[in-house]
Symmetry: C2
Subunit: 195 residues, 2 copies
């Protein structure tokens, strides 16, 4: 068990525990306010093991965001699967986002939270957030472009803006009301494109 196939990404029980723990704690409590001691303690790993797999805390943060990125891409893909129309896919993605907001332990968007702690645009963490956001904007814009003939750029930005607002407010207001408002807004956008 826990053998590296020699390919690209390394895998091991300790590294996996480290990443899972870091993901949980960083998402729930923020990044700057938790030290590596907390993470290695809860991951039941020694300090040396951390620095054997990551060059430092920053790389651990980047791995956390990388994992979050993979998770969201999978979530979007899963939501789109099974839908037959582009409008159906957009609605399914929106429902999936709403489900996340309603989930216990929801603490907002991991990327928006992270970028609030890394305002420097040149910082790798900040850039990772921008990259993820660009992917999401492109994805929903392409999806919307398949509904009707109107240019989709504005509607894509509109949808992302609603999502950002919903993710930000989802852990500050009543999640149920936030989801209702969000889904209604998405429906308006989809209908305005003739679906």
């Amino acid at each position: 068990m826990s053998r590296d196939t020699g390919g690209g990404g390394s895998t091991s029980a300790a590294r996996s525990r480290l990443l899972t723990t870091a993901t949980r704690i960083f998402y729930a409590e923020g990044i700057h306010s938790v030290g590596v001691d907390r993470i290695i303690a809860e991951a039941q790993v020694t300090r040396a093991t951390l620095y054997r797999h990551f060059t430092g805390k920053e790389e651990l943060v980047l791995a956390y965001l990388g994992q979050a990125d993979l998770g969201i891409r999978a979530q979007v893909e899963a939501a789109r699967a099974g839908e037959e129309t582009a409008a159906g896919e957009v609605r399914a993605v929106a429902r999936s986002i709403a489900d996340g907001i309603r989930s216990p332990g929801f603490r907002g968007c991991a990327f928006l939270n992270a970028v609030a702690e890394y305002p420097d645009p040149a910082h790798p963490v900040h850039r990772a957030v921008l990259a993820h956001r660009q992917w999401f904007l492109d994805t929903v814009t392409e999806l919307l472009a398949r509904i009707g003939d109107a240019p989709a750029d504005g509607d894509g930005r509109h949808l992302v803006m609603l999502r950002d607002g919903a993710m930000a407010a989802g852990c500050l207001f009543d999640p149920e009301l936030v989801c209702e408002t969000f889904l209604r807004g998405v429906e308006d956008v989809v209908r305005s494109r003739g679906a």
Copy 2:
């Protein structure tokens, strides 16, 4: 100069410098990542002076948010003044928000940024953010209620959601496009109420 009138809030040159500096740095760089040393150095104040005016860093953070709250209330009030209709007031507030997003040095919403660093709902900083947001939601909802006869709660939440999304994306995407999308969304809400 710099004399306390004996009323409620104390005023002094050093305290004012401290608060101005803290506001600037906390907003631009975050809270947990800047130490009191940075603040006292740039405020040209000694350590003892900080702790003479504030019980600790946390109180300084709360004072920072209090100042930001006052600033936004004044901004909203200024935008509303001179408008003759409720719809005009909503549009003016939205334009004022867009102006902020377009301003150089815009780093998003001070409250959303702060709450990302204080996820604990029981923490005073977190609660200060919730209080500010509740005020803003109430304000725009009351304003929207004066346009048309339909219930305004949903539209108020919709408008706040757009604002949150715009503030979050305003320093991550092209501010001009963000403002355009935001103002269009606000216009849709206002028009849907018959204005």
